[in-house]
């Protein structure tokens, strides 16, 4: 199962866990499934069906441009990180 | 507004007469009145060298010269550096050595380097760096610019520049 690394400010919704295994084939599905078990986490990370501005997704170490639509594999690691702009 | 003046000069070998306001700099007149945009403006106060031209063979920041002062002077700009036979050795060397990235500093640097090589056909690295110290380049770190001037000197730039 994919593993979602829970960002620190969202950990209070998941009893302080730092990472959680959860089913899903996209980042959106992972977070929706988390929300059913841990209500409140979705609104902490997302707004209007997208990641909150200033946040980005990294899957298996690669920053993604696809946000919630990013596909994940069964062994994937998913991180929610600050979005970064370069010069 | 003060009365406009007529100024007679030679630019890149041809006689040029232009009308300007006394407050206009030579840089402004070249770019705005004469549509010679090859000479660049980076600061307008003599600090960056992007506007370097040659007046009577000497490298000068054209933003520091009033256009009316140019009366009777012999002006060379980047537009006059290449000839019918092709690029000047300095221009060729800048291309071959990849001595430009964004290129905004390039016209000014080529003019300063041209003045240097005309005076000193075989400059040391130190002499090149000293002569170009008034021309800022923010992209390249100057390494390849210095090499380009060295290579132009080797190509016999001085003879080409007379």
């Amino acid at each position: 199962m994919p593993v979602v690394f829970i960002p620190p400010h969202a950990r209070r919704f998941v009893n302080g866990q730092k990472q959680i295994e959860v089913e899903g084939s996209t980042v959106e599905k992972l977070l929706r499934n988390l929300e059913t078990e841990y209500p409140g986490i979705w609104d902490t990370l997302c707004v209007d069906d997208a990641l909150k501005p200033g946040l980005a997704v990294a899957v298996d170490g690669n920053m993604s441009n696809r946000g919630l639509h990013q596909a994940v594999q069964t062994e994937s690691e998913v991180h929610i990180l600050p979005a970064v702009g370069g010069g | 507004m003060a009365k406009k003046r007529v100024v007679t000069t030679k630019i890149n070998g041809r006689p040029v007469e232009f009308l300007c306001e006394p407050r206009q700099t030579l840089l402004e007149v070249l770019r705005e009145n004469l549509d010679m945009i090859g000479t660049k403006e980076g600061c307008s106060n003599g600090n960056c060298g992007a506007c370097t031209i040659l007046i009577d063979g000497k490298a000068v920041d054209s933003c520091l010269v009033l256009a009316v002062e140019a009366e009777g002077m012999n002006i060379e700009t980047i537009e006059g550096v290449a000839s019918a036979d092709g690029l000047h050795p300095l221009q060729q060397a800048f291309l071959e050595e990849a001595a430009l990235q964004c290129g905004i500093c390039t016209p000014g640097l080529i003019m300063s380097a041209k003045a240097l090589l005309a005076q000193n056909p075989d400059p040391t690295e130190e002499e090149i760096r000293f002569a170009l110290a008034g021309n800022l380049c923010r992209c390249t770190g100057y390494d390849k610019i210095v090499r380009a001037v060295q290579s132009a000197a080797k190509m016999g730039c001085a003879s080409a520049a007379k």
Binding site: F5, V84, G85 | G38, A98, T106, G141
Partner: protein
């Protein structure tokens, strides 16, 4: 030199490719050495007016009233605008591909709304027949201000009783406490990352070093000031000529700010005279567009140099507390840091990136990173080459050097022992794919520079590493095969340093044709598919990838056409890039040029397209070595020798890769030794000119020796990694470490200008 070194590593791409790795002359080169290339300020349209901008004399003030009537009456003035001429911007966040922007903030940064937040903040603008007249008109605009106390230092701005820039700003807390408070604050956001249990790990550490660092605000310093020219059509569409790192990003910002349909804004890129991250956000573009609309004439606005310093860029000044612990064998066991960045008048700053870069070069099992994004009365900070990475590398690499000294360990040996490798998990949680940090450290260790002992009094050698995560993002390219056998390559990435060449080379390589047969053009927003900014070290990587895809598309179409000519199934036809030919059954063959000619005469046009939206895995690393000599009488630091090793993936055009490294290093040297925004108590920048701000000149420097280490990036068809950004990160720390070796003082403030260095020397001597 460069190539010899990279050959020695055995990792060079040399010999593998026909075009990649060679050094052809760039396609736009001749125009640029002859003065023909048109940059932002070189645009002239018939009937064009000239704009000028009135700027605030105060660093912090409320605007009580603006009276523009006298200016409007001046003969030759055609339009005067203020913030009221912009529609009400919503508090919406717009994604700009690279980073996001709050439109309300952007709008009031372009022309101030009810408050001015820094000296130089734009307040009103005029369009007139000449520039001189426009500036005369500015003097006739009457603005009544109520001055407020400014706050200029990041730590002061974080205090409870600090003057507040934005009354409605509340801190967003990303830490596990996730505290909420209804108190107005200058802190926009608190970042938090943690791995393992750093407090427990420090308990067990053999040596712990904890220090504080500060860095001054510095500017990107591009030589070309911002310039924009706008012209409206009768049907309400606008065309904007501008020098920008991203035409599509400008289009989006202008459309949003002026409430125009996106597709009614066409942005034509001029050549661009440097940007380094500072030409992504708009400043004068919407002003030119609004003035042109109001006056009914084309309007050009060009910034003066002082305004570039006072009102664009810069990169944040910072305060950093850095604590590292190691065991007796010299293995890092714990790290803990707090980083505060000055975001300037508005959030956000590159603090998020700073947090992700701070421990990026080391394997730190237990670590904590806290970051603060803080508003102060300075211009809104912008990206600057590896945004956020240089400040934090200064802190980390300086403390590492101190630890090496305490351990009695060679700094190279220490780094090899602790370097991040494939699989290392950063404190923010991400695990690295294949990366090349170790190779850059080894390249420095083995370099002639590092192997040559440094002799002489007051001389010292320093080493430091640095990181940048590199972007990918979206790019589009189209390629039309012409009847003469050459290809027109149309791209949307503005060329800031030779990217026409690096993209054309990847295209040519894929088809096996000479680079000279590819004719690249950078075009406007109506003429090519969406392309993100030239920034984040992404163009050669991502637009190069799009060009590779376009070339594959051309291959397929050529095979299809040949199959038709030969009346065979296209599955029997292949493209052979070794021979640049299409080959069919029974020895049938068309050379590329031959087929191009035939297709143009007797078949459908061959137009390849390529798009990309991949992000670069891993990011890039560099390790630098520097020798300095310090004058103990004056505190002046002279750079004697500089070598920069960097993992560049594959060097497409090695000269321009070296150039990126050399240019980045020198910007880092300027940041280290001279550059700073010098403010007085009232918040006025006292050195807003090149003379006083003092970027490095040619006479300040030696040659900069790059070592290109090529560890091909597995996530790119040609192994490309972005190269532009990393080289700015290590220099300040490397130089600080060298200064310590030279004269025994630890510099913890940037810039390490003569007065600061002398102060430390005198303090040490008592």
């Amino acid at each position: 030199m460069a190539t010899a070194e990279s050959d020695k590593t055995g990792l060079s791409s040399k010999g593998k490719y026909k075009v990649i790795g060679t050094r052809p002359i760039r396609p736009d080169g001749v125009d640029k050495v002859t003065g023909r290339a048109r940059y932002g300020a070189d645009i002239r349209l018939s009937g064009m007016l000239h704009g000028a901008i009135l700027r605030s004399p105060y660093a912090h003030a409320r605007i009580k009233s603006i009276d523009t009537s006298k200016a409007e009456q001046l003969e030759g003035v055609y339009a005067v605008i203020t913030h009221k001429d912009f529609p009400d911007a919503s508090d919406k966040i717009a994604e700009l591909g690279e980073g996001s922007v709050n439109l309300k903030h952007l709008s009031s940064n372009v022309l101030a709304d009810d408050k001015v937040l820094y000296k130089g903040h734009a307040v009103a603008a005029v369009a007139a027949e000449t520039t001189h007249l426009a500036y005369e008109a500015l003097d006739l605009i009457e603005v009544e201000y109520e001055p407020l106390t400014p706050v200029l230092d990041v730590r002061k701005a974080m205090q409870d009783d600090a003057p507040i820039l934005h009354e409605n700003q509340r801190m967003e807390d990303m830490s596990p406490d996730a505290t909420t408070s209804d108190k107005p604050t200058n802190i926009y956001k608190k970042f938090f990352f943690e791995q393992g249990d750093p407090d427990a790990a420090f308990e067990k550490a053999h040596i712990v070093v904890e220090r504080e660092f500060t860095t001054a605000t510095v500017h990107q310093g591009y030589i070309e000031p911002h310039a924009a020219t706008a012209v409206w059509s009768a049907e309400g569409k606008v065309t904007l000529y501008t020098c920008t790192q991203g035409t599509f990003t400008v289009r989006q910002q202008v459309a949003e700010l002026l409430g125009l349909p996106l597709s009614y804004v066409k942005v034509i890129p001029t050549e661009i005279g440097g940007g380094f991250g500072g030409k992504i956000r708009v400043y004068i573009d919407p002003v030119a567009v609004a003035l042109a609309r109001k006056s009914g004439r084309p309007v050009k606005v060009v910034m003066d140099r002082a305004s570039v310093f006072e009102a664009t860029g810069p990169t944040p000044g910072s305060w950093i507390r850095m604590k590292l612990g190691v065991d007796a064998q010299g293995k890092i066991v714990a790290g803990d840091t707090e980083i505060a960045f000055e975001s300037g008048a508005y959030p956000v700053s590159p603090i998020g990136a700073g947090c992700m870069c701070v421990f990026s070069c080391y394997d730190i099992p237990d670590g904590r990173i806290i970051g603060y994004d803080v508003c102060v009365n300075k211009p809104h900070s912008a990206a600057y080459r590896a945004p956020g990475s240089t400040q934090v590398a200064f802190a980390t690499e300086s403390v590492v050097d101190e630890i090496c000294e305490k351990l009695g360990m060679d700094p190279i040996e220490f780094r090899l022992k602790n370097a991040s490798v494939e699989g290392t998990r950063r404190v923010d949680g991400v695990a690295y794919p294949r990366i090349g940090l170790v190779e850059t450290i080894e390249a420095i260790r083995d370099s002639e520079h590092y192997q040559t002992p440094l002799a002489g009094p007051n001389r010292g050698r320093g080493v430091a590493s640095g990181y940048w995560m590199n972007a990918g993002l979206k790019s589009s390219v189209t390629a039309t095969v012409n009847g003469d056998g050459k290809v027109s390559l149309v791209e949307g990435s503005t060329d800031i340093g030779g990217s026409r060449a690096s993209i054309a080379m990847q295209f040519a390589e894929t088809l096996g044709i000479p680079m000279e047969d590819v004719v690249p053009a950078v075009v406007d927003t109506d003429s090519v598919g969406y392309t993100d900014v030239t920034g984040g070290s992404r163009v050669t990587y991502a637009t190069g990838w799009a060009a590779y895809e376009a070339a594959l598309d051309v291959q397929r179409q050529l095979c299809d056409r040949a199959a038709e000519f030969w009346e065979v199934d296209s599955s029997e036809v292949t493209y052979d890039k070794e021979d640049a030919a299409v080959k069919g059954p029974d020895g049938k063959s068309f050379g590329f040029v031959e087929l191009a000619e035939k297709v143009t005469q007797a078949s459908e046009p061959v137009v390849g397209r390529g798009v990309s939206n991949h992000n670069e895995p891993g990011g890039a690393f560099g390790t630098h070595a520097v020798d300095v000599e310090v004058d103990p009488e004056t505190g002046k630091v002279k750079i004697l020798r500089y070598t920069a090793a960097q993992d560049v993936g594959t060097a497409i055009h090695p000269s321009y890769v070296e150039g990126q490294v050399q240019g980045g290093v020198v910007q880092g040297i300027g940041w280290a030794l001279n550059e700073e925004y010098f403010y007085d108590e009232a918040g006025v920048m006292r050195n807003a000119s090149y003379l006083d701000y003092r970027v490095p000149t040619c006479y300040d420097l030696p040659m900069i020796d790059p070592i290109l280490v090529e560890v091909p990036n597995p996530g790119h068809p040609y192994g490309v990694r972005g190269v532009g950004e990393v080289p700015i990160a290590p220099p300040p720390a490397a130089i600080a470490n060298a200064i310590y070796q030279a004269v025994g003082v630890r510099m913890r403030h940037l810039p390490m200008s003569p007065p600061h260095v002398l102060h430390e020397i005198l303090k040490k001597e008592g």
